[in-house]
Amino acid sequence: MAYRTFYDGYFDRLLRYLLVVTGGDEESAREVLQLTLVRVVRHVKTFDAEEKFWSWLTVLARSALADERRKRRRYFAFLEKFTLHTDIEGTAWNDGEVDEKLRALLERNLKSLSPDEQKLVGQKYFARQSVREIADEQQTTEKAVESKLSRIRRKLKDAVLSELKNERPQ
């Protein structure tokens, strides 16, 4: 199914983009992602290049974000309209910038992990070891390894989103 292919290909990418655009507001990013995907279904058209398609997707995402914020602050519609205008202009990130920013934040926070945690991440994501291999090497269970990895990922996520929020333009 064409939509499934699109969904698998762009879900993570759009979510990453929206996390940066919303300044690390995960809840908003999810809601806006849903709005964006609905708009894609309603207004989908043919593009001759992938870059143009992605550019169109980011416009949809930003306009969905603007509408969502307007909805949340209905009583300040006029003021919001003015501030959103500058906000949208200021957050017109391109794909490369978004990924670069997230990667930089991830690398910075990877370094702040303990040596054991850094080793575990290295084994899983850079040495491409399976959980079973890691568990055997550390003489523990797969479940314990999965649990540790989950905690590390959670810590990294909180740190990355926190930094995004701190960098959000006021």
Partner: protein, 167 residues
């Protein structure tokens, strides 16, 4: 796998961490449901639009049809002026024909039993007003002149007129 792709996978896993487990699938289902509803709505709207056009065409056609036939009749008459009047006849059916025969008619002869009365002029005399009033003496009456040469005798008691005429 390159270091860039490794980091990308790590980043995806990090960002997906602690998300609702079925968020991805639930969002896909919800989007597809909305897409189906949107398609259904669009199809319904198109169907209604087509039906509306047909109804409109039918109404317009119905309004224009009699006008066209009325207009075309005089044109047809003008194009074929006739210098003669064509009369079509046809034979009547037998039961509508009435025939007579000589033998069926009975001739009745009459004899003259009527008495002829002839009058001669000058056998009467015109009376004047006084003589007329003298004739009705004893019955209250007035003579009303209604014109230069006409008069009317009116009795006070209508019953007197009946008796007078009988006499």
């Amino acid at each position: 796998m390159s270091d860039r792709n490794n980091k990308k996978e790590l980043l995806n896993d990090v960002l997906a961490e602690a998300s609702p487990a079925d968020f991805r699938e639930a969002l896909l289902d919800e989007t597809l449901r909305l897409a189906r509803r949107h398609r259904h709505f669009r199809q319904t709207r198109q169907t209604i639009g087509v039906l509306g056009v047909f109804v409109l065409l039918a109404i317009l056609g119905r309004q224009n049809w009699p006008a066209q036939s009325v207009v075309s009749k005089p044109i047809a008459k003008k194009s074929t002026p006739k210098s003669y009047k064509l009369v079509l006849t046809q034979q009547l059916p037998e039961d509508e024909l009435i025939t007579t025969r000589q033998s069926s008619v009975q001739i009745v002869a009459s004899i003259s039993a009527v008495v002829q009365i002839s009058t001669t002029s000058g056998g009467f005399r015109q009376i004047n007003d006084d003589e007329l009033l003298a004739l009705v003496s004893g019955r209250p009456a007035v003579l009303i002149r209604t014109g230069p040469h006409s008069e009317e005798l009116v009795f006070a008691n209508p019953e007197d007129q009946k008796g007078f005429l009988k006499n």
